[in-house]
Symmetry: C2
Subunit: 179 residues, 2 copies
DNA sequence: CTTCGATCGTGCGGAATTCGCAGGAGTAGA
DNA sequence: TCTACTCCTGCGAATTCCGCACGATCGAAG
């Protein structure tokens, strides 16, 4: 996973002549630290995952090589991935659903078991009337039925499920930080 | 919908002789009917969004130029986007939630209204005990509270909402087709 | 049957990008 | 001060991207 913090590297390398505010980048108190420059790089790549390193460098004030090294590290650490995303409905997967799951016992163990299923593309532990929310992608109704009723409910600890079959995907964005 | 942000990147500035705008017909509802080769290309880019066209060409049995033209078309049509995706928690957004929404009246109108909000990164119409499922990304608790109680419930047609605050993201995949 | 017109693939240079590596500068600890 | 690290920069060389011209295929119209 990406939880390795790697000894807080965010010391804000002051380049040569530019004086960027060193006091700005630590707004989040959580463990994995990203400085403002890495955030800006991610932002660029959220707009276009294939944007050249030199263009990113101009936007964030870094050389091409520096951007390339930072991107590589972000990928290696698992902080981000650069991938093609699609609307599954246009790619041949005709049934999608969000499934709310109630668990007795170890929630995380159930989450791990569900994560191991290839049809589950999104697994998150939640607070509220569900313990887990799972998004599943299937090829057709039979497949969907099989996954929900046979596979998910067969996982030890799953008490009950409630399904929300997707009718239409209205929005899908990956541009947090761009606001 | 989501296609407009990506398509605008390089479509306009090339048009050498016949700059016609096919992006208009990319309204969803019409399946662009992807063949096996385009599917294979998408699959390659789901593994690595920056993979060179030549390498993809070798994998799918096409020339570099053909791959490039197909990828450009897929982007223009909004079938796929090539972007960086992250776990928002590591990028400074500390509160995420899935919100189930019940609607009276025009569900799609409500969906459009919610899609216009930048905090809503994922909006889908569903069958089941919710009419809409909305994933929202916020910076902190105050922001989350504001979005749910003030903004979402203020949308005309929203009858009720139920929130599921994210505790931990366990899985996030973009590799349908790779199985 | 022939001819447009549109779509799709290939090949090819030139420009742009990526890649690897050798420094230099700042920082922390012994 | 010296060493060990980290991070950035600069610079060739290899690779990749990009525009463009041309050929093949297919369906519809003449």
């Amino acid at each position: 996973m990406h939880s390795d913090l790697v000894a807080s590297r965010s010391a804000e390398q002051k380049g040569s002549r530019e004086s960027r505010e060193p006091s700005r980048e630590s707004r989040n108190g959580s463990s994995p630290q990203l400085d403002a420059v890495s955030l800006a790089i991610i932002e660029q790549l959220q707009e276009d995952g294939r944007r050249p390193y030199a263009a990113i460098g101009k936007a964030v004030g870094l050389s091409e090589a520096a951007v390339r090294q930072r991107v590589q590290k972000l990928l290696d650490q698992g902080v981000m991935q650069i991938v093609a995303v699609t609307d599954p409905l246009t790619v041949g997967f005709r049934r999608q659903a969000m499934v709310g799951v109630n668990v007795e016992g170890d929630v995380e163990a159930v989450a791990d078991a569900l994560s191991a299923m290839s049809e589950c593309e999104y697994v998150v532990m939640t607070a509220g009337s569900f313990d887990l929310m799972v998004e599943i992608v299937c090829e057709d109704d039979d497949h969907l039925l099989d996954v929900i009723n046979k596979r998910i409910r067969a996982v030890p600890g799953v008490r009950s499920t409630e399904s929300f079959v997707y009718l239409k995907l209205k929005k899908q964005t990956y541009m947090w930080g761009t606001r």
